[in-house]
Point group: C2
């Protein structure tokens, strides 16, 4: 058993581009609507709905907070659709991702921590740690795919002990 | 010119059912995921995407707050898709709606005010006041339809002066 320490980096569009979208106003295309009273930051994520899927709007709430450092025993992917998480109470998200593909090398994993106002959208097939939350009660909006078909696969790390940490 | 005073009622699933969905955890179907650490409040809104539409995720931010009482000179409808607004900072939303249909009688209008944690999803074709916000900087997530086609129609109230007020 080898071990690997995975330190979360600040979440940016550039760094996250291979995995999906960062959902935030900063740097986004925007325009005024409703006589200038509202600014619309437009089309911030590619929602993917394969295999006769339909979009679902759901809310995730944290029953039990995760304390970092924490283990990363496995990752999952959704072969049929994208999956977006947007914080509803300005609380940072910590994510672990690896590129889409049939294999997942532990060395290919990257971790990111958001600034509390950023959401993420995992592109279809991108490997990721199932959702964790740092604060009890923390709420996140989910936009993902509903419909028939097997839309979740897991990859377990049997030979590497991976530990996720925050920066600093 | 006649006048009509429209007082916002508390937003509930029952009262809003003719117009669309209330997006909130209270009263929603839910189940545990990720080894019980997260509760998923599932499939809270019917996202409608007519005419080769695709779902858009956007953010609205308030440039200029609306002070109530305020006039309701017109309402709009989106014949091709639903439109959801979910508050990102626990700030109440005030909405004005009328049933889908080719005519809009001023007497058919109803107004609702949310508790700050509730979002709304307007069903396709439901008449509504364009988005207003009560606080400068207030942010809301939008899930609506992108794609070709004329997806916005307005109805102006020329014979009735409508004033929207908060309860109490």
């Amino acid at each position: 058993m080898t071990s690997l320490r995975l330190r979360a980096e600040p979440l940016t569009h550039e760094a996250f581009a291979p995995y999906g979208d960062v959902i935030e106003t900063e740097g986004a295309k925007h325009f005024s609507i409703n006589a200038g009273t509202i600014e619309r930051f437009h089309d911030l994520a590619q929602v993917e709905l394969g295999g006769e899927g339909r979009p679902l709007i759901s809310i995730a709430a944290c029953n039990q907070a995760t304390t970092l450092p924490c283990p990363v025993p496995f990752v999952e992917r959704h072969p049929l659709g994208s999956q977006a998480f947007i914080p509803l109470d300005d609380t940072p998200l910590v994510v672990v991702v690896a590129p889409a593909g049939d294999e997942v090398a532990p060395e290919s994993l990257r971790a990111f921590v958001s600034n509390g106002r950023q959401g993420v959208n995992y592109r279809r097939g991108v490997w990721h740690l199932p959702l964790i939350a740092l604060e009890q009660g923390q709420r996140m909006l989910i936009v993902d795919r509903g419909g028939s078909g097997d839309n979740c696969e897991e990859h377990h790390f049997r030979d590497t002990e991976i530990v996720l940490t925050l920066p600093g």
